[in-house]
Structures are given as structure tokens and as C-alpha cells.
């Protein structure tokens, strides 16, 4: 299947492919927007998404050097009272981890199997020893297990892209996998961030995995993007009705990583995707 010229593999489309090849095909190749609800309680889902976006913005503003007292004012008056609490926790646990040069909301790209890959990082920290840390802020209500994170496309792709493309952030000739770690910080468990180290073996394994996946995608015919056999995956999929996989959407409370489900891009207010006013 020939991909569009402007196609980039990202964590969200590769995760879609891993969950269901047909979903990948509909969403990313045919660009079918299927306006059904992801979850039953759409209002709470929207509020969670918007709160997450505002909290990401607060952190970004903090990292850019906007005075803390101004940000505290905003956090305190936020329509979602949880944000004030998240904010205090962030200030308590994170600033001491932030020694080094900060690359905030940076996008890196690389190539694999002749295709383009891209990742947008909440924060990449480059410290004086030459180590690089990816930070990812998660506002899901659920505590997420480390082994689950280890398997997620996001973790593996982000580490790989930083390994291959991170030299553009530093003066280094190249970056070894052992120099990289990824830290997830959860508002739901602020005192226990999950840190995932990287190594050569993991890098090679992930590289082989992504090459294989990408090759399958570009070599297969359009009718080979099959519907998943795991009906659990359909519970939070908007194409449910089109695929005849149920009527009612899943319950918000059983959504493990809601950020991935809404597409983490949606949480980071991505100004490039906001409609620009063509005055």
C-alpha cells in the first residue's frame, strides 16, 4: 500500500496499527473521521482531555520560565480543582529532576525502512554528563504498570527516535542507547515516577520490530488491513458501528490509558493543528 507523501509514522498511528490494522487503515490512510463517541460519558471524557491539555500547558509555561506565582494563580482558579493539586505535586517532585538543557515540546524525526517517523516529546533533558531523559506527563486517573508501559509503542518509539535523531539537540556526534532514559510522571501517583532505561539490546529489538511493522504496512494490499479478532479493542474504538462490533461505547472508568485513546497529540495543545484564521 503506497503511503501518502506526507505520511509520518507516529506513536499514535503505530499504536492503532498494533491494536487493529483496519483502524489504522481507516483513520490514517483513508482519513475517515467517524464521529461516534469513544466512551459513554462523553462529557467527563472531554473534561479530562481539556484538563490534561491545560495541565500540559502549565508545565510548558513553567519550563519556559514564567514566574511560579502567576502559574499558581492560574492553577488555583482552574475550572477543574484537581489541577491545583496536580500542580502542587508537580512542584514538589519534578523541579529537582530538571537539571540540564531543556527541549520543550520538541519534535524529532528519523527514517526507518525508507519511511519517516516522528515523535513530539513533552520534554527532553540533556544533562552535563551527556545523558538524555525523556519526560512524559500523564494525567490518567489510573495508575499504569511499568510492564505495560514497557510494551507500549510510545515508549519504544520515543526511545528509538531520540537515539536516532537526538544528536540534532546536542553537540554529540551520535547518542548511545545507554545514555537515554524515559520517565513517565503520573498525576495519579506523583511520588512514584516510572523510569525506563534504554540499552543496545532493546534498541536493536525495537528497531527490528518497527522495521518489520513498517514493511508489512507498505507492502500489504489495502484489503489486507484486517479487523482485529480481539473484540476488547473495539470497546473504545469509534468505528464500532461501521465494523458491527457493538452499539454502546465503553465505560470511561475502564479506559486504562485515556491519553493514548484520545491520541496524546490531542492533549498537548498542538497549535499547528488549531485552525488558523485566514484573515
Amino acid at each position: 500500500m503506497k503511503l501518502p507523501d506526507d505520511f509520518y509514522f507516529t506513536q499514535s498511528n503505530l499504536q492503532d496499527y498494533e491494536d487493529c490494522a483496519y483502524r489504522f487503515y481507516l483513520r490514517h490512510l483513508l482519513h475517515v473521521k467517524w464521529p461516534a463517541s469513544v466512551v459513554g460519558d462523553a462529557i467527563a471524557f472531554e473534561k479530562m482531555g481539556q484538563s490534561g491539555a491545560r495541565f500540559h500547558r502549565l508545565i510548558q509555561q513553567y519550563l519556559l520560565g514564567i514566574p511560579e506565582d502567576r502559574l499558581r494563580d492560574l492553577a488555583l482558579r482552574d475550572p477543574n480543582p484537581e489541577i491545583a493539586e496536580w500542580w502542587e505535586n508537580f512542584l514538589q517532585y519534578i523541579p529537582q529532576l530538571l537539571d540540564g538543557q531543556r527541549f520543550i515540546e520538541s519534535t524529532l524525526t528519523t527514517s526507518l525502512a525508507g519511511q519517516h517517523l516522528a515523535a513530539k516529546f513533552d520534554l527532553v533533558l540533556v544533562n552535563e554528563d551527556g545523558n538524555l531523559t525523556i519526560f512524559d506527563w500523564k494525567t490518567s486517573k489510573k495508575q499504569i504498570r511499568k510492564d505495560w508501559l514497557l510494551e507500549r509503542v510510545q515508549t519504544r518509539l520515543y526511545l528509538l527516535i531520540l537515539k536516532q535523531g537526538g544528536a540534532s539537540l546536542t553537540d554529540f556526534e551520535s547518542i548511545g542507547p545507554e545514555q537515554i532514559t524515559m520517565t513517565y510522571w503520573f498525576t495519579a501517583s506523583p511520588d512514584t515516577p516510572v523510569t525506563i532505561p534504554y540499552n543496545h539490546h532493546a534498541y536493536q529489538k525495537d528497531q527490528a520490530y518497527f522495521i518489520k511493522t513498517i514493511k508489512i504496512i507498505i507492502e500489504q494490499d489495502s484489503d489486507a488491513f484486517n479487523r482485529t479478532t480481539d473484540h476488547q479493542k473495539c470497546r473504545f474504538c469509534v468505528y464500532r458501528s461501521h465494523c458491527d462490533r457493538g452499539v454502546e461505547p465503553g465505560e470511561l472508568a475502564s479506559l486504562i490509558d485515556f491519553e493514548t485513546h484520545v491520541g496524546s497529540d490531542m492533549l498537548k495543545i498542538d497549535i499547528d493543528r488549531i485552525e488558523e484564521i485566514q484573515f
Binding site: V32, W34, P35, I66, R77, T110
Partner: protein, 713 residues
């Protein structure tokens, strides 16, 4: 055409490429001289030298113009490892206001500085303008001497406030500026006073409610953020290399920012298209753009046109000379070879009387070109405006001849899509307390669309029995009430589907009065896209409904928190605004990607701005004065509100004529710069509206033809 590795570079392009990197270059030249190609090569050179892509900023007046640079970057991913930033001034302002809001929110006068800003889209700004102005028109006699569509009143007032921001003067001066230049009826003074009053009220309303329309975003950025060390340093540190393309199409405040920013960049390439400035009505300022050359280390001039065949070059000279003499310039003749002119222009033997015959001729010519081997993407059909009726005739003729074609503007706005109307019809039935119940025929049409197996005749039969708009109860009755023989005709299976839909509407409406978007999300997912319903496998309709829901969602986000809920329900207000043409009237953009294998049907200005040369152009309706006359805009005046307007001057008919001539010159030469081989002239004695038009353009072309013929004797 974009550069690819197999294309040889012109000498001028090579010379530019050889410039050392830490330099600031002003590149000027007419369209077709390969400036954008040179720009993409410059980008490649930056990447080749090891500069990270994220340190490169590309500024363009509209986002589509960044496309060649993004394509170049995609070819260089191995090298790039990150992305360049492509921004318009509006995009930059919005991005900075969003990021640095807490720094300035207390200074700019918003009522709630500790709450985030609410950015308005053009649609929601238009809504608020109507919210403020409508009562003034209805109760206080504003604009009473004007007979124009109200939406044009709202959009022209917005246009004024946006102009003030991008030209860089205070919005409180709009009325006085307009009045000071006016020669004519005193009544116009009242209109300008009303405009100023509406502008002031709109701005106050925005400040009271943390609403940031385009003008306020630009003002906050220019007046507050650009001078803030934190924001300024962030920008200066983030971007070390600058490329600006189509500088002449950008606005004075954008040029001001670039002037101040230029010394901070390690390198810069500023590209200026001579003879352009097509976005003048949107605030483009050629003079202020051109003045930036003084800030650069070197100036490059590209002269060699890489597009035109010699015959087109001759046509260009002939037309340029003819317009120049019209403008009072050289009256000395120039020699134009008649053969060249004949090669460059083609028209029917005789102009037909009616435009459908002309369209027929155009379609046949296009078909001949394609048969002779011209790729469809090398043909464009242009008119000053492309009215729907002309577009419709062209599309039909092309379809009949099997010619692939695309219209730059898809033919229907969101609100005109049958799918949109169907969804909104169902909503007005479900929310009967809105008191907007649809006509029976519209409901029948909606049911036909959504229930599989129901045709229009049976849908009308069904609604004749089940729809009761006057009972005060839920207006849809169950299938049970339909007499037996009619039920047989409608079929029980359809009846079951109808009942399921009816029950769903009745039970889900109450909890969603203020969330029409969620209501439609659920309606679509749980009923209309399920097996047995019309959208089950209809992927295109899914996209249209998604666009509608997104538009409602943005409306809810922008309106919901600001206006008191007891005044109205958001869903009802949305539907009302759609019916009034204030929202959902924009054309849907998703499908606008240019297909290189289709003939393009487009308004002339849109084609110019998109900057893609083609082999053959068809100019339609060339007797029309719309090729050079400006729109009638009684509430605004783009020349007077520009930075080049001299205070104290009066705008009179001579100015109007001079500007019409200049517009004609820029437009026709701009089109010819982008034409390789031939222009086909399509004209009928009576135009689309039935008027007989013999405007300047047709006369100029005839003049060029005749003088070339005379000279050949």
C-alpha cells in the same frame, strides 16, 4: 513546478546557492524565475551544513505556501532529524499568546486575567459580532441607510478591526480615518460612526469575556509580548535561521517584526515577488515588504523567466505596454510579432451569445488538449470570481467528456450538505422546545437519508401519519399509528427501524439540550451508523458529520462559558446561526488538496496565490469588470486603511480608476508569469448574470492583437 534533483539550476539559482551561509539575502524577481525553488535549495543547504531543522523558521503569508519547503524537508529526513517551523504572523501571534498568556494577561485589560484566553475562530468572531450588532440594527437604527446582507455588515466590521491590527494603528481611529478620506454623501459619515461604535463594543465585549479574536491576538503579541524579554528571548533562542517567502503578500506589522528580528538571525533569505501583492485586500503591503531589502547584506535579482515560452513573453510585453499607456505611461509603440501573439492566444471564431455555449467550447478545447497528451494538471480554468452556476456548468461539461477536474472551492458549504441538513432536521425534531420544528417534506427527506430501505415517496407517506408538529407532545408518533395498508407499503422492517430511531431521539434529547455535539455523536454512533441505517457504510457522510460536530463543538466552547445559559440553548443558537448563514457557511477544506491529475477550476486570485505555473490557462468572463474593480464594501476601504494612505488625502474617482488599472496590470501579468504555452479566452456576449459586458481586459487584448496585426502588414 517544484525542484527535483534532475532539473538543472539556472545560473541565477546557482549564484545564490554559492553564497556563504552566514549571510542575509534579499531575493527579488518576478513570478516564474525560480525563487521558491531557490528557497527550498537554500533550506537544503542549511540542513546540509549541519543546522538542525528546528532552528529554522519559515515565514509565509498563508500556510499553503509552506508546502514546497515541507516537501523538501521530507526528502531530507535523514539529514533533518527534526522539523522546521512554518508560521504565518497570525500563527506566531496565537502561539505566543497561548504560551505566554500568564505574563501579559494582567496588562491587556481582560476581566479575568487568571483564566485562560478563549481564542475565536473567524466563525465564532462573526457570531459574536452578530450578537453585538444585531440589536443595534434592530433597535437603534444602525446602518439603516444600507441595503446589504447583514452578514456582510458583520464581516466588514471585523475586517476593519483586523486591518487596524495588521496595519498597526489603533482600532479607535477606524471611523475617523474612513470619514477623513470620504468624498460624497454625508450619510456615509453616519455609517462610519456606526462602524466605530460597533468596533468599540466588540472589543470591550472581548476584553470582558477573555475572548481573543484575530485582531486582539495580533495586538497582544505586537504590543506586549514582542517587547517582553522572556518571549523575545525564547523566539531568538529557538530560531537561528530565517526564510521568508512571498514577503510582498505579508502585512506591515509582520514586516515590522521581521525588521527588528533580522539582526538576531545567523542567516536569512527574504524572497520578494515583484509585481505581486495579490493579498492587498487582506492587508498585504508591498512597500513595507520591499523596504526590508535595506536590512539585508546582499540583494539578488532573478531575471530569467523559467516558465514562459517566447510567445507568452511577447503577449506579456504587449499587455504590459497597453496597460502602461492606459496609466499615462509610454505611448511609444513596441514591436510585437503577430505570429507570436496568435500562438499565445486562442478564442472561438465568434463569441457565442450565451455562456453555456462558451462553456461547451471550453470543455471541447480542454478535451482536445488532453487527447493531444497534455496532463490535466497542466490546465487551469479561471474567472475573476467563480460563481456557482459557472462552476456547475463547467463541472457538468467536464463530467460528460470524462475530463478529471477539481474545483478549488468544493461546490457546497458545510451547511448546504444534505447530510448536515438531515442531522440538524433530526435535532430540531428531538428538541421540540426550540420551536424550530421542520417542514414535513424536510423531515421526510431526512428519514429517507437515514433509514435504509425508505424512499422519498414512502418517507412522505410515513411522515404524513407520524409527524405532528402541533400537538405540543413529542412530534413523532410510533409506527403503530400508521394505518395498516400504509404500514404494508412502508414495510414492517422500515417501521421497526423508524421506531428505534424515534425512541432513541425521544429518550436522549432531554439530557443533551446544551450539548448538541454530544447528542449527534451518540445519535450517529448508536443509531445512524448501525446496520439498517443510512450511514452504516457511508464513509464520506461520516466525514461531513464529523465536520459538522466539530463546528458545533467549537461553537459550544467559544459561546458556552461566555453567554448566560438562561438566555438561550447553545444547540438552538447554533442551528439558528446556520440558518442565518453566519456559521457553517465556510467551505470544507479537507478535500482541497491539489490533484496533479485534474483540471483545476478556480478564481483567478486563488490560483495566483497558490503559485503553481501551468501550460494552459483558460480565462473566462473576460468582459467582466470584476477583473479589476474592487468589491462594493460600504463599511470599509482597504486603501484608506493601509499604511500607505496619507492623512488628509481624499479618495476620489481618479484614485479608484488608477487602482483599477494597477489591479488589472498585476493580475494579468501575474497570470501570464505562471503560464507556459497558451491562454484560451472564453467569452460570451451575455455573461452568467445576463449582462452584456465589454470591460477593459477584453478591450486590451483586442488592442494588443490589432496592433500586432497592423505591425505585421
Amino acid at each position: 513546478m517544484l525542484y527535483n534533483n534532475h532539473m538543472p539550476l539556472s545560473l541565477e539559482q546557482k549564484a545564490l546557492q554559492e553564497q556563504p551561509l552566514p549571510s542575509k539575502i534579499f531575493l527579488q524577481g518576478q513570478a516564474g524565475t525560480g525563487k521558491t525553488t531557490a528557497g527550498t535549495l537554500w533550506l537544503k543547504k542549511l540542513l546540509d551544513s549541519g543546522i538542525p531543522a528546528h532552528e529554522i523558521l519559515i515565514v509565509i503569508p498563508q500556510r499553503t505556501l509552506a508546502q514546497p519547503y515541507l516537501e523538501c524537508l521530507r526528502d531530507e529526513t535523514v539529514l533533518a532529524h527534526s522539523l522546521v517551523t512554518t508560521l504565518t504572523l497570525g500563527g506566531l501571534a496565537r502561539r505566543m499568546v497561548d504560551l505566554f498568556w500568564p505574563l501579559v494577561s494582567r496588562e491587556i485589560g481582560v476581566a479575568k486575567p487568571n483564566l485562560p484566553p478563549q481564542f475565536l475562530t473567524l466563525e465564532t468572531a462573526q457570531y459574536y459580532m452578530s450578537y453585538i450588532v444585531r440589536p443595534l440594527i434592530e433597535k437603534e437604527g444602525y446602518f439603516e441607510s444600507l441595503i446589504i446582507n447583514r452578514n456582510r455588515i458583520y464581516s466588514q466590521i471585523l475586517d476593519n478591526i483586523n486591518k487596524a491590527a495588521i496595519v498597526g494603528f489603533d482600532y479607535t481611529e477606524i471611523g475617523d480615518r474612513l470619514k477623513a478620506s470620504w468624498v460624497g454623501d454625508i450619510e456615509q459619515f453616519h455609517i462610519y460612526d456606526d462602524v466605530q461604535s460597533c468596533v468599540n463594543r466588540f472589543r470591550n465585549f472581548c476584553l470582558e469575556n477573555n475572548l481573543l479574536d484575530f485582531s486582539l491576538q495580533v495586538e497582544v503579541f505586537i504590543k506586549h509580548l514582542w517587547s517582553s524579554p522572556l518571549c523575545h528571548n525564547y523566539l531568538v533562542r529557538s530560531y537561528r535561521h530565517l526564510i521568508v517567502d512571498n514577503l510582498e503578500e505579508d502585512t506591515p506589522v509582520c514586516h515590522d517584526i521581521l525588521r527588528e528580528w533580522l539582526p538576531d538571525f545567523d542567516s536569512a533569505l527574504l524572497i520578494f515577488d515583484q509585481g505581486a501583492g495579490y493579498r492587498f485586500f487582506l492587508g498585504a503591503d508591498i512597500a513595507s515588504g520591499y523596504s526590508l531589502r535595506k536590512e539585508c547584506d546582499s540583494i539578488f535579482q532573478f531575471e530569467e523567466n523559467l516558465v514562459n515560452e517566447p510567445c507568452i513573453t511577447h503577449l506579456k510585453s504587449g499587455l504590459e505596454h497597453a496597460i502602461l499607456s492606459l496609466q499615462g505611461g509610454s505611448r511609444k509603440g513596441i514591436r510585437i510579432p503577430y505570429d507570436a501573439i496568435k500562438d499565445s492566444i486562442q478564442s472561438p471564431e465568434e463569441n457565442p451569445k450565451y455562456f453555456p455555449v462558451m462553456v461547451h467550447w471550453v470543455a471541447n478545447q480542454v478535451a482536445n488538449l488532453i487527447t493531444a497528451g497534455t496532463p490535466p494538471g497542466e490546465i487551469v480554468v479561471l474567472a475573476p470570481f467563480m460563481p456557482d452556476v459557472l462552476r456547475f456548468y463547467l463541472s457538468n461539461q467536464f463530467d460528460e467528456l470524462g475530463i478529471p477536474h477539481q474545483s478549488h472551492r468544493p461546490s457546497r458549504s458545510l451547511r448546504d450538505e444534505p447530510t448536515t441538513q438531515t442531522l440538524l432536521t433530526l435535532a430540531t425534531v428531538a428538541f421540540q422546545d426550540w420551536e424550530m420544528l421542520p417542514k414535513r417534506i424536510n423531515l421526510a427527506f431526512a428519514l429517507m437519508q437515514v433509514i435504509e430501505g425508505l424512499d422519498l415517496v414512502r418517507a412522505q407517506l410515513l411522515t404524513a401519519y407520524v409527524y405532528d408538529a402541533r400537538s405540543g407532545e413529542f412530534p413523532l408518533k410510533t409506527f403503530e399509528v400508521v394505518p395498516g395498508e400504509i404500514r404494508d407499503r412502508v414495510t414492517y422492517q422500515v417501521g421497526k427501524r423508524y421506531d428505534h430511531l424515534r425512541d432513541w431521539l425521544e429518550s436522549n434529547a432531554p439530557q443533551n439540550t446544551n450539548r448538541l455535539d454530544f447528542f449527534l455523536n451518540h445519535l450517529f454512533g448508536e443509531v445512524l451508523s448501525q446496520p439498517g441505517y443510512g450511514f452504516h457504510n457511508n464513509l464520506d457522510s461520516g466525514n461531513t458529520i464529523a465536520n459538522l460536530i466539530e463546528s458545533i463543538q467549537k461553537f459550544r466552547w467559544a459561546i458556552g462559558p461566555q453567554l448566560p445559559a438562561e438566555m438561550f440553548t447553545i444547540g438552538r443558537e447554533y442551528v439558528q446561526m446556520v440558518q442565518d448563514g453566519i456559521i457553517a457557511a465556510q467551505y470544507v477544506h479537507e478535500w482541497e488538496r491539489q490533484d496533479s491529475n485534474s483540471v483545476l477550476i478556480s478564481p483567478a486570485y486563488t490560483f495566483l496565490i497558490n503559485n503553481q505555473p501551468v501550460d494552459y490557462q483558460f480565462w473566462l468572463d473576460i468582459g467582466s469588470p470584476s477583473w479589476y474593480q474592487r468589491l462594493n464594501q460600504p463599511l470599509t476601504q482597504p486603501y484608506v486603511l493601509s499604511r500607505n494612505w496619507v492623512e488628509g488625502d481624499l479618495w476620489d474617482s481618479e484614485d479608484e480608476l488608477a487602482h483599477a488599472h494597477e489591479t488589472l496590470r498585476r493580475l494579468t501579468l501575474g497570470l501570464l508569469h505562471r503560464c507556459r504555452k497558451k491562454v484560451f479566452i472564453g467569452m460570451s456576449e451575455l455573461d452568467v448574470r445576463g449582462f452584456e459586458n465589454r470591460g477593459l481586459l477584453i478591450r486590451l487584448i483586442q488592442h494588443v492583437l490589432q496592433s500586432a496585426k497592423r505591425q505585421s502588414r
